[in-house]
């Protein structure tokens, strides 16, 4: 049983929600545009965490500054994966890309295992253990950074999707592929960019996750679970839905921990996800 006030877990849950939305964003985008359940998404986020860890421990670059390198790198890797693996798999059948995604997941997990051992790692920076206060209550600074990162990426992506040709093309292809082709949109190219953007957002999510929680080579599995939960609660196709879905998941997780103890926090999340699947399968904000 928790004690003390309920405000602290509530605020922490909301802040964490921004990070969860960031994790879910790439999964949602790839599914929306390519109709692919990217089983590797959680591991791509973990790759983002390990990439930042490598830059920090080997080269000595701060994880947030390191995004200048890792975001473009993951973006290019995403273009390559779509072009040389997914694109070819889509030409074979609609199940083949799913198997490719599973394969990518295994490769990343094992590569991280070899490179970094199964021990748990964390992105420890001078500021990741700082805290800030609201009134009399103290909160970890990393949670605020998580939330800020979520908001910034969401707004940037929202602007991109609604105000640029390429962004509109991605939106159009997710709503009607045939009509998009008839508008002169090269859907293979759009798939490449959607996958690349998903990977770039995974790189960002990986950094902030790594500053908030320790991670291991198999952490991708739980990241994927969080992403699924967020998308199921918020519904596909709505940026705002994803964001609110993340916050709901975050709040239920922290409140679950507060009322029932830390061992039960994810259980509450799964129950909520199941209830939403049963009552409103398109999600709270889905169409």
């Amino acid at each position: 049983m928790g004690s003390g006030d309920i405000i602290t877990p509530l605020v922490m849950g909301l802040l964490l929600g921004g990070l969860y939305a960031l994790i879910a964003l790439g999964l949602s985008m790839v599914f929306g545009v390519m109709r692919l359940i990217n089983l590797a998404h959680g591991d791509l986020v973990a790759l983002g965490s390990y990439g930042a860890y490598a830059l920090m421990t080997v080269v000595g670059i701060d994880p947030i500054v390191g995004l200048v390198i890792s975001v473009p790198a993951m973006f290019l890797l995403g273009l390559a994966i779509q072009k040389y693996l997914m694109g070819r798999a889509f030409a074979i059948s609609s199940e083949a890309p799913l198997i490719i995604a599973f394969g990518i997941s295994l490769v990343i997990q094992n590569a991280n295992q070899i490179a970094w051992t199964p021990l748990s790692r964390a992105l420890n920076t001078p500021y990741s253990h700082m805290s800030f206060t609201i009134g009399a209550r103290q909160f970890p600074l990393s949670y605020l950074l998580d939330f800020a990162a979520g908001v910034v990426v969401m707004l940037a992506l929202r602007y991109f999707l609604t105000s640029t040709y390429l962004g509109r093309a991605i939106t159009a292809a997710s709503q009607d592929k045939k009509a998009a082709q008839l508008m002169g949109i090269n859907t293979n190219r759009v798939y490449g960019y959607a996958f690349a953007i998903a990977m770039a957002s995974a790189a960002i999510a990986g950094v902030f996750l790594g500053m908030t929680f320790p991670f291991t080579p198999t952490s991708g599995v739980s990241f994927l679970t969080i992403a699924f939960g967020t998308v199921i609660i918020g519904g596909l196709g709505s940026m705002l839905g994803t964001f609110i879905g993340g916050m709901i998941l975050g709040v239920f997780q922290t409140l679950g921990g507060y009322f029932l103890g830390p061992a039960f926090q994810m259980l509450i999340v799964y129950v909520i996800v199941l209830v939403i699947l049963a009552v409103r399968p398109q999600g709270l904000f889905g169409r």
Partner: protein, 244 residues
């Protein structure tokens, strides 16, 4: 037939998997004309348009647009050459605004630079689209959605427009409005190849027509010629459709 041939389809066979939908179809579209494709459901009309658009590729035969072989090209390359399709069922982007639907129509490289100019033209044809620019497309009425689909097609700055089942499910007064717009579009020099179920209306509007029957061209000619053939009249049009 004429040295003004813009689109020349020569002896194409097209398959959906193992099902052959078009058999040795040849067809010519002259620049600036309004040509109709008539035929029952499953006679291959939509297949023909989708093949021209590059969504399907012929197993045999060629398609030439302004002398260039386009039969192996991808849809986006064909749009860049100046062929746009207004698909059956409108297929507007339902969750996007009216204006965003129009803007996405100008996606191809050549059309982007003419975006504002073409948008003005679209608004002249369909003033209602201007009024409803911010509205989410799926909330438009059926007729307005069809206007949006045609407007979106015009934004691609086409030389040839393929229009599939434009009047399906719409009220006669709306259909009149749409055909009026098509006549204006034709006046601007854009060629129109359209598929219609409404045979009477088609014969009033088109310059020429091809009649498709189970994937083959059964007859073709000017609408006046087609009306004079007694056999055609009875088989396809009923007896009174040619009388205006």
């Amino acid at each position: 037939m004429s040295d003004n041939v813009q689109l020349k389809i020569s002896n194409i066979d097209v398959f959906h998997g193992t099902f052959q939908a078009l058999w040795d179809v040849s067809l010519e579209v002259n620049g600036g004309e309004m040509l109709a494709l008539i035929g029952a459901n499953t006679s291959g009309k939509t297949t023909l348009l989708d093949t021209v658009s590059g969504l399907l590729h012929p197993a045999k035969g060629t398609i030439q647009f302004e002398g260039k072989d386009i039969s192996r090209m991808d849809p986006y390359q064909i749009v860049e050459l100046g062929i746009t399709q207004v698909p059956e069922g409108r297929r507007i982007f339902p969750e996007m605004s009216v204006l965003d639907n129009l803007i996405i129509g100008s996606y191809s490289a050549g059309a982007r630079s003419k975006k504002m100019e073409n948008l003005k033209q679209v608004y002249e044809h369909f003033p209602r689209l201007k009024e409803r620019g911010k509205q989410i497309a799926k909330t438009l009425s059926g007729g307005e959605q069809q206007m949006l689909a045609i407007g979106r097609g015009l934004m691609a700055d086409p030389k040839l427009m393929l229009i599939d089942e434009m009047s399906l499910g719409l009220a006669p007064i709306v259909i009149d409005e749409l055909f009026k717009a098509l006549r204006e579009i034709k006046k601007r020099g854009i060629t129109i190849l359209f598929v219609e179920q409404n045979v009477r209306r088609t014969l009033q509007e088109a310059d020429r027509a091809y009649i498709l029957e189970t994937g083959r061209v059964a007859l073709s000619g000017t609408t006046a010629q087609l009306c004079e053939e007694d056999q055609v009249k009875k088989a396809y049009f009923g007896t009174d459709v040619c009388g205006i």
